[in-house]
Each structure stands twice: as structure tokens, then as C-alpha cells.
Symmetry: D2
Subunit: 143 residues, 4 copies
């Protein structure tokens, strides 16, 4: 997969920095390349649900936004990256100090990209896959 701009890393950094919700949660871009993106989140009490696990909405947010980052590596300078829909399976209770998400573009189309995101929870130095998402994204010129 080939980026449409040399500045694709900068484009993805913007997608993370300008998204207030993502900054507010504490999700940070950690790595990227053409067609993929990684992010991390240090888990805090505010991320939990009623039984002490990381809320499904936090896992969904990191899965969705990192998929957006992966699609962003292949977008043109001024393109918007918008989520059309996603589906996420929660595979294990999400417990741990840190979430890591890796998203990979499965298919780059003219306007639609499909990416998958794996969310891992790190606990006591070991890492487990806790959620997996499949995300459909539209990459469109800014109106």
C-alpha cells in the first residue's frame, strides 16, 4: 500500500492531536507506517465500567480511532477520514495497566477503506488480545 503524500506521518499525527475526545481519554499515537498505525493508552480509573473492567466504549474508541490513523497513512493531504461503521468483539475482560492497539488496512479502495484493529491489554508485563474490530472508513476530499 502506497501513501499519497510524503507527509503521511504528519497527517496521522494531526488526526490524533486535533481529536479532543482522543486526547481527553489519553490515547497517544505510538507508531505508524504505510497502511498501519499503533496507539497506546495508560488505563486510569476514569476508563472503567461498573465492574472494574476497561469500558467497552474505551476499547471501541481506541479501535476506531487507530483504524482511522491507519487509513490516514494512505489518504491525500486534505482528505477527511470518516468512520462509516465498525464492529467489535470483546474477547476477554479488559484488565491491566495499559491498552495497545494495532490497526491494519485490509483493503484500500477508491473511497472506502477496510481496516482491522486489535486491542491488547498489558498486565504485569504480559499482553493479551482483549478486543478485535473491523472498521469501514470513507476517505473523501474535504468539502
Amino acid at each position: 500500500m502506497k501513501p499519497k503524500t510524503e507527509n503521511y506521518a504528519q497527517k496521522v499525527r494531526t488526526i490524533f492531536e486535533r481529536a479532543a475526545f482522543v486526547s481527553d481519554l489519553g490515547i497517544r499515537l505510538s507508531d505508524l507506517g504505510p497502511g498501519w498505525c499503533e496507539s497506546v493508552l495508560d488505563v486510569a480509573p476514569k476508563h472503567l465500567q461498573q465492574d472494574g473492567y476497561v469500558h467497552a466504549g474505551v476499547q471501541a474508541t481506541i479501535a476506531d480511532h487507530t483504524a482511522g490513523g491507519a487509513a490516514g497513512t494512505l489518504a491525500a493531504e486534505g482528505d477527511l477520514v470518516l468512520t462509516v461503521e465498525f464492529k467489535i468483539n470483546f474477547l476477554r475482560p479488559a484488565l491491566g495497566e495499559r491498552l495497545r492497539c494495532r490497526a491494519t488496512v485490509l483493503r484500500q479502495g477508491k473511497t472506502l477503506n477496510v481496516a482491522e484493529s486489535e486491542v491488547f491489554a498489558e498486565r504485569d508485563g504480559s499482553e493479551k488480545l482483549v478486543a478485535k474490530a473491523m472498521v469501514t472508513l470513507a476517505v473523501v476530499p474535504k468539502p
Copy 2:
């Protein structure tokens, strides 16, 4: 659909109050009945993504958690309500002062419930459907 406990309203209030992530976002329970639940969120700048829309993760969180509330109305006193998976379609750019979500249980099984959630954005006094989710939940005795 019939609640398994007379205190089902209290059970659902707990699901909203004890979920730190949901309180932190500002999502509030607004109404409920056997098999359904409603919630609202006053949109603030911290809920937005890079282009000024309400972040997909916020919409996913309210859709997921309100589906949990709807399933909670049918759960026994000590049951846990856990999301197995969900899928959400974003139908229109989410712009507005307030989100409202209504979740309805489509099917109550022995341990699995399926609910659907509709997310509406209120803007200048009118309301539009901006996202729709289908959520699979496990309702299981506390271990």
C-alpha cells in the same frame, strides 16, 4: 418482556452511576422500562473528533452502555451485564447540542440478549438519527 426483579430501575441506575467512564463523559440515564432504556449527553468540546463532529467513540459508548441498561432491566438482582460484541453504523455527521439514545431489547435469551440502540443528535430544536447499533450482551450471575 418481564423483569426478574422489582428493583430493576435501581439496578439500571447502578449500571450508570458506577461506570466511571460513562459519568466522566457526562452520559445520564433519562428513562427506562422493561426491555428498554434511554440516556442523554450534553455535547461538549471534549467529545469531538478532528473535524468538529461528535467522535464515533462517544456515539459507540452511549449506544453500548444504553443497550446494557436495556438488558439490565431484564436481569436478576446480582447479574452482570457484559457486552459480547456490537456493530454500529454512522448514518449522518453527528452535530448538535445533545445526544439522546434509546435502546430496546430485541430478544431475551437464557444468557444472551440482543438489543438495538438508536442515537439521535438534537440541533436547534430538531432531532436526527445519527447512528444505529446492534449489541449482543451476556447476562450472567456474578462469579
Copy 3:
């Protein structure tokens, strides 16, 4: 929702008649209007899975294709209607003499439509909702 052609009924009939897989299964268009479509299938032994229920693939096919029919009512004369993705929940064991599917367009976009499909099984004169799907479709000019 407004059709782009007066011949929208003919367009949808073609979508059903020219789809060999759908004819081979025995799925028939039964009704339609702007933004919605209905179809039926008389259940035969060849539609079953290993435990005597209608196979998930049959339910998925009628859900998907009828969503295509619903999107087809809003498409222009020469447009292709292609499924981008769908998700389907199986709510009850599908048992009965007949399946009926009703699909409704939730959102008509410039190129993407989102529809939902409900699949009912008729048995001894009563009808139950056995599956529900959410379908994303691309409506694009023939290349």
C-alpha cells in the same frame, strides 16, 4: 425517500430475476415501495443446516439481497447496487414453512446506503422474528 427513476419497480425485479443464486434458492420478490422491499422463501430440506434449522447462510442471503432490493428502489436506472458489508444477529432458531424478509433503507447517502432487514419465520400460521441485519450498500454508476 425519493426514487431516481419511475421504473424503480422494474429495476428491483431485475435485481431479483438476474441473480442466479437467489432464484436457485427460491427467494422471490413479494412487494416494494420507495426505500423498502419484501421477499419470501418457501423453506425446503435443501435450506437446512445439520440440526434441522434454516441455515444461517440462507437467512443472511435473503437479508442481504432484500436490502439490495430496498436500496435498488432509490437507485438510478443504470446503477449497480453492491453490498459493502453486513452484520446479522440470529435471534431464534429458524424453523417453519416460510421465511419473509422486510428491508428498509435507514439512510440514503450520495453513494452509500444503510438498510436494515428483518427475517421472519412462519410456522403453523404464526410469524416470529428470527434474524435482523444491518447492511451497508454502495450504489454506483455501472463502470
Copy 4:
């Protein structure tokens, strides 16, 4: 992942042989191991949709049923394997002489398994990923 019975290969063969819909389509089990399963289908005119591609319903059926086979490798002798829900993305037009599907269990729970299925189309000797599905399955004792 560990099978619960030594006869797991026989169990999966039964899942394929006794499913009338799958035999009728021509889908054949081709390989399996603990936690995974492969199947193939020689594409015939009856599998196509109105524009000459393999129908989404055929791709969904092979993805779903092969996921059932993968979950079946981990089930006990008398267990039923039932699809709870699945989601499938169509990545490229499905054209070719043959479909091949590989399904892998991502997570084996007490009653719920999550598997993913990749569907490849073979054309002129080369193979392309045309669809990917994520499938939630219930593995339960025969009633």
C-alpha cells in the same frame, strides 16, 4: 487450543456432511486442525448475483459455516455449534473459478467462541482475499 474429543475431525466432517444447504451449494471441507478449518467451493453459474460476481450470500455462507467447523474442532462430542451473529466485509468483487475459506478461532470461551474467516477467490492461478468475517458462535450441549 485443545479439542475436547479425539474424534474432533469426525465431528467437523459431520457438520459439513449433514448440512444440506452446504452440500447443495457444493462447499466441501478441505482441511482442519484444533481451532481452525478450511473449505473450498468450485464456483458455478448458480452462485452468481445479477452482475456476474459470486453472490454475497455464498461468501457469507462459506465464511459462517467454516467458522462453525473451526469452533467444532474444539467442541465436545454431543455439542451443538450455533451461529449467534456474524459480520462480513466484502473487500473486492468476487470473481474466479474457486473460493477457499480459512476460519480460525480467536477466542474459546465457556460457551461462546469467536472466530474469523477469510474468503479467497482463485482466478487464473492466483488468489485474492475477497471477504473477511468475524463470527460469534455458541457451543452448547444438545438439548
